[in-house]
Point group: C2
Chain length 130, copies 2
């Protein structure tokens, strides 16, 4: 065994391991799977959308939360923000290549959960009945 002063699970440049406390992938995953992040990514998977169109699609999201969610997704490289010079202002949101891959996986997850929802409801009813 060789002695080392650099434990793998703290070095951010080698072999990311999400199970380690400080892994950089954790906050990225949280942005992508957050309440509104997940829905925004999947909504954009069907094509680019402007701010208010996206807000209508993601039913229930406030302006503030959609705005900050999109900023996080843009920062992580999942979403492109394109400002079109015009009056009134137009801003188009679209997925990057990476964002599209993430969105595909999330769409699969949603499809799975929606499809098995009766099973989930049953489990919930059984659990609550105890």
């Amino acid at each position: 065994m060789t002695a080392t002063s650099v434990p793998d699970d703290v070095d951010p440049t080698l072999e990311p391991d999400v199970f380690s406390r400080d892994c950089a992938s954790r906050p990225v995953l949280q942005n992508a799977t957050s309440r509104w992040g997940l829905l925004a990514l999947v909504a954009l998977g069907d094509g680019e959308l402007r701010f208010n169109a996206l807000r209508r699609r993601v039913d229930g999201v406030s302006e503030r939360m959609l705005s900050s969610t999109l900023q996080s997704l843009e920062r992580d490289g999942f979403v492109n923000r394109t400002v079109l010079q015009a009056i009134p202002p137009r801003v188009e949101y679209s997925l990057t290549d990476l964002g599209a891959e993430v969105a595909d996986r999330l769409a699969g997850l949603i499809e799975l959960v929606e499809g098995r929802l009766p099973e989930v409801r049953k489990a919930q009813d059984d659990y609550d009945a105890r």
Copy 2:
């Protein structure tokens, strides 16, 4: 067109649509993709674990959060909780069939994000440099 007093996007028994505000799949997805729910599910994908073993695997989770996370996952039918009568007490956590399918998808998502982490870091640096 036929008149109806039951809009599809509010009736919870037909065609769940996650984009609708009251869709029952939303809280289920949030439990599965929450900060600790995602890690617990994927950790259990490698085999059943006892409470403290799971806690060690999911680095950084508190007892309280792991406990409440597991309760949510059990309620939704993703996790089985088995109490083995013994002293000291033993409780085994494992995935249901549905939980295993969800965990597979989440593991794929994690693998994707970990693998593309350099790309994400680059995007973050570019964004922060503005």
